[in-house]
């Protein structure tokens, strides 16, 4: 299995602020994926992060709101910008390993 570490594990944020979530993987991977899980909901793919290129965003998600960095093959960040209460969610990063998609522990954000 893959070891995926996310920081912070949880945070409470004020409306209008931004927060950056970090994701560290135990070995090099080509793609890293960022998902959002709103309260009581399923997972929705935000974007795919490739090292050395801009992230690819899914419909409904834009770079200005969710800028992503991928400086190397083991690390990525997702920023949630200008937060509103609707951004209160769990944000998960994930990677493939041996044909399975593994997830980090998630970053639970609450926006007041």
């Amino acid at each position: 299995s893959a070891v995926i570490s996310q920081k912070p594990s949880r945070d409470i944020c004020q409306r209008g602020t931004s927060l950056t979530i970090q994701c560290q993987v135990d070995s090099q991977v080509t793609m890293m994926f960022w998902y959002r899980q709103q309260p009581g909901q399923s997972l929705t793919l935000i974007a795919t992060a490739n090292q050395g290129s801009e992230a690819t965003y899914e419909s409904g998600f834009v770079i200005d709101k969710f800028p992503i960095s991928r400086p190397n093959l083991t690390f990525s960040t997702l920023t949630v910008s200008n937060m509103s209460p609707e951004d209160s969610s769990i944000y998960l990063c994930s990677v493939w390993r041996a044909g399975e998609l593994f997830f980090g522990e998630g970053s639970r954000l609450t926006v007041l």
């Binding site: 994926f33 399923s42 997972l43 929705t44 793919l45 795919t48 998609l101 998630g106």
Partner: protein
């Protein structure tokens, strides 16, 4: 639009009983994934089904895949309280790089 539909969405069952969760999907994917999520936790991979007719079992859970019917089932045998969790099925997105998830089935096993 790719759809992944699970039913039921909520399931309360008694210990010792059997039940099946269904996952229908609209794509032609040959692969299907089952995950478990405990409250406040991340997702844990349960099964990866790679071809038509695939069947995998782990303890009291058995998953199967019928790609022609675009249907996967997760069968629970003699349920125990520890199986209480939310179960998600997922299929490959058309891009082939990530997964699209169903809404999840919230399972509660009661004495």
């Amino acid at each position: 639009e790719l759809k992944v539909e699970q039913n039921p969405l909520f399931l309360s069952m008694q210990e010792g009983k059997n039940y099946t969760i269904y996952c229908n999907y609209s794509t032609t994917s040959d692969r299907l994934y089952w995950y478990r999520q405990d409250p406040g936790k991340s997702l844990e991979s349960l099964f990866v089904l790679l071809s038509n007719g695939a069947v995998k079992q782990e303890g009291r859970l058995m998953a199967s895949l019928d790609t022609k019917a675009r249907l996967s089932t997760l069968h629970i045998t003699a349920a125990v309280h520890d199986l209480s969790a939310t179960y998600f099925c997922a299929v490959d997105l058309p891009s082939g790089y990530a997964l699209n998830f169903g809404k999840g089935t919230s399972l509660l096993v009661t004495p």
